[in-house]
């Protein structure tokens, strides 16, 4: 069996008495989309933040491509190849679409400490940025300020930024949130092709998208993974239906 790109073992995180992560084990295998679903407040975003290195777990280990990164900070993990999108769009609002993505390219290529050359004249930055922008279909918005984009376009920009990092693994926190059916459909199509570049840990509430995309689904409730399996297995799981999918239908 291939080595997991991301391997999480025994992860625990408490906020006071609240268990946001309760002994979480999770693998992300090469080429797969692993969906993480669960009700609001289950601890999905908290898990993503721990994997990205933004908050430290109380216990457990996180390995990226075989390497223990539990003690590394967010910057180091990004450099090792983790790209994450934020649940609430977190782009630089005053920057144009192009500048936002160029910044990601500069981070990946370690071209940040160049002081005198105009960034817009540096094709090593602009060409990969434009490529990523074109792939998500924002080419005609390149010069627009991120703050002036529509909600859906800003979500798409998040994906372009993640793409431009050419990561080893994507961590996407509810990329479809508030997208509308049209946007969700085209994003589903985009993510479908993406898994071959790098596997995706996908937190998502849109069940159509999850069922269409996921190779594997894990269900998180009260910080615990209560079930993990293929789409068919999860759909058939009585416990999951009671704990989560049932709520959705109701």
């Amino acid at each position: 069996m291939a080595e997991p790109v991301l391997q999480i073992r025994g992860l625990c995180k408490h906020f006071g008495a609240l268990r946001a992560s309760d002994n979480v084990d999770l693998d992300l295998m090469p080429g797969e989309i692993h969906a993480l679903i669960g009700p609001n407040g289950a601890g999905k975003s908290t898990l993503i933040k721990q994997i990205a290195g933004e908050i430290a777990p109380d216990a457990g280990t996180i390995r990226l491509a075989g390497r223990d990164v539990t003690a590394s900070g967010a910057v180091a993990r990004a450099r090792l190849g983790l790209a994450r999108s934020f649940q609430v769009s977190s782009v630089a609002g005053e920057f144009t679409v192009l500048q936002n993505v160029m910044l990601a390219v500069a981070g990946r290529l370690r071209r940040t400490y160049r002081f005198l050359r105009p960034a817009l004249a540096d094709t090593k930055l602009t060409a990969p940025a434009r490529e990523a922008i074109a792939r998500v279909g924002l080419a005609d918005r390149e010069g627009m300020r991120a703050a002036d984009l529509s909600h859906g376009e800003r979500r798409t920009l998040e994906i372009a930024i993640a793409l431009a990092l050419k990561p080893k693994a994507f961590l996407l926190d509810e990329p479809m949130a508030g997208m509308g059916p049209e946007g969700a459909r085209s994003l589903t199509h985009l993510l479908d092709g993406l898994r071959h570049e790098a596997p995706i840990l996908l937190v998502e509430h849109d069940m159509d998208a999850v069922f269409a995309l996921a190779d594997r689904i894990s269900v998180l409730v009260h910080g615990r993974i209560i079930a993990s399996g293929t789409v068919a297995e999860i759909q058939a799981d009585a416990v999951v239906r009671a704990a989560y999918l049932g709520e959705e239908d109701a």
Binding site: E54, V75, A78, S90, L98, Q99, R114, R117, P118, A119
Partner: protein, 326 residues
């Protein structure tokens, strides 16, 4: 050419025109005032890198201004009395050569900014303001209580330091030196802002968490900007010492930090020529109202209030409109 570029050109050429006209008319004092504007604008241009581009509200830039000033004063006084600065392990002499003094001033203020920035950047916001103020105050009290270089009384440079081929005591020549340095720094700053580093710095100001997720350490970016900022303000301090041929702890006082910040805010935070507009307005007000009333600072306060409440872009923003990116 955008409106802001046109305004910048007007400001730059305007200052030059004032100095040349005053020189032709024999108004030496006005040439000196124009020189003071150029030097103070340079101090503000330094702060603008940290405050305007990086969003770092430093209330301690007097430290760098003063360190630059003392670098000039100390080097010059040693040269004046033929006393080596250091005798062991190697003998280092003082100097009166401006370019050497500038380099030393920038190195010293840059190192101070590295140390102060590394500690202050553990915090942001109000705490950052207070820590930078605290460090500047420590250096201020150190200068006051250090008798070797004049303590409270300050230190005289005697004649002005030298620049090969120019008579620096000639007001117009000294203006030309200060003006040229200001324009070089503003030109480099313009390049900096459009560079990859400028992008990262602006990104660090807007969204530090996002920057981390791109593998860019925002603290390192901000610290680098803080050092560059301190170096530029340090350079202006060395020129200011030469303008007055005197340095005193007043250069290091918190009032000086406040004044430098006023130049930037009046002119327009983050606007390339904002510090020049702000410093020019400040000197014009001080010169014209300072004679009329002791309380001209009250009017200055009122003006600042108006800018902060109604014209965040300062003078530049008022005339040229909102800043455009990229």
């Amino acid at each position: 050419m955008t409106r802001e570029t046109a305004l910048n050109a007007l400001l730059g050429l305007g200052l030059l025109a004032v100095a040349l006209t005053a020189h032709a008319a024999g108004w030496t004092f006005t040439v000196t005032l124009a020189t003071k504007v150029a030097i103070l604008a340079l101090a503000g241009a330094g702060l603008n890198i940290a405050l305007g581009f990086g969003g770092l509200v430093s209330f301690g830039h007097a430290a760098f201004f003063g360190i630059g000033g003392y670098a000039a004063g100390i080097l010059a006084s040693h040269a004046m009395f033929y006393e080596p600065l250091v005798t062991w392990p190697v003998e280092i002499e003082g100097t009166r050569a401006m370019p050497v003094i500038w380099l030393v001033a920038m190195a010293a203020s840059g190192l101070a900014a590295l140390a102060i920035g590394a500690l202050s950047l553990r915090t942001r916001g109000v705490f950052f303001i207070m820590i930078t103020l605290a460090f500047a105050q420590m250096i201020f009290y150190f200068a006051i209580s250090w008798p070797a270089y004049g303590g409270e009384d300050g230190l005289s440079l005697g004649v002005r330091n030298t620049f090969a081929g120019l008579n620096t005591l000639d007001p117009l020549s000294f203006f030309a030196i200060c003006y040229t340095l200001l324009m070089i720094v503003l030109g480099l700053t313009a390049l900096l802002r459009c560079s990859a580093f400028g992008l990262a710095l602006d990104g660090a100001r807007q969204n530090a968490e996002r920057l981390k997720s791109l593998g860019i350490d925002p603290t390192r970016v901000l610290l680098t900007a803080f050092c560059l900022s301190g170096m530029v303000t340090g350079l202006s301090g060395a020129l200011y010492a030469d303008l007055n041929r005197f340095v005193s702890p007043a250069m290091l006082s918190w009032q000086t930090s406040g004044e430098i910040m006023v130049f930037v805010i009046l002119g327009g935070v983050g606007r390339l020529f904002g510090p020049l507009a702000g410093a020019a307005l400040y000197i014009v007000l001080e010169h014209n109202l300072g004679g009329v009333s002791e309380h001209w600072q009250f009017l200055l306060g009122l003006l600042l209030l108006l800018v902060v409440l109604f014209a965040r872009g300062g003078l530049i923003g008022l005339v040229a409109g909102e800043r455009r990116h990229g």
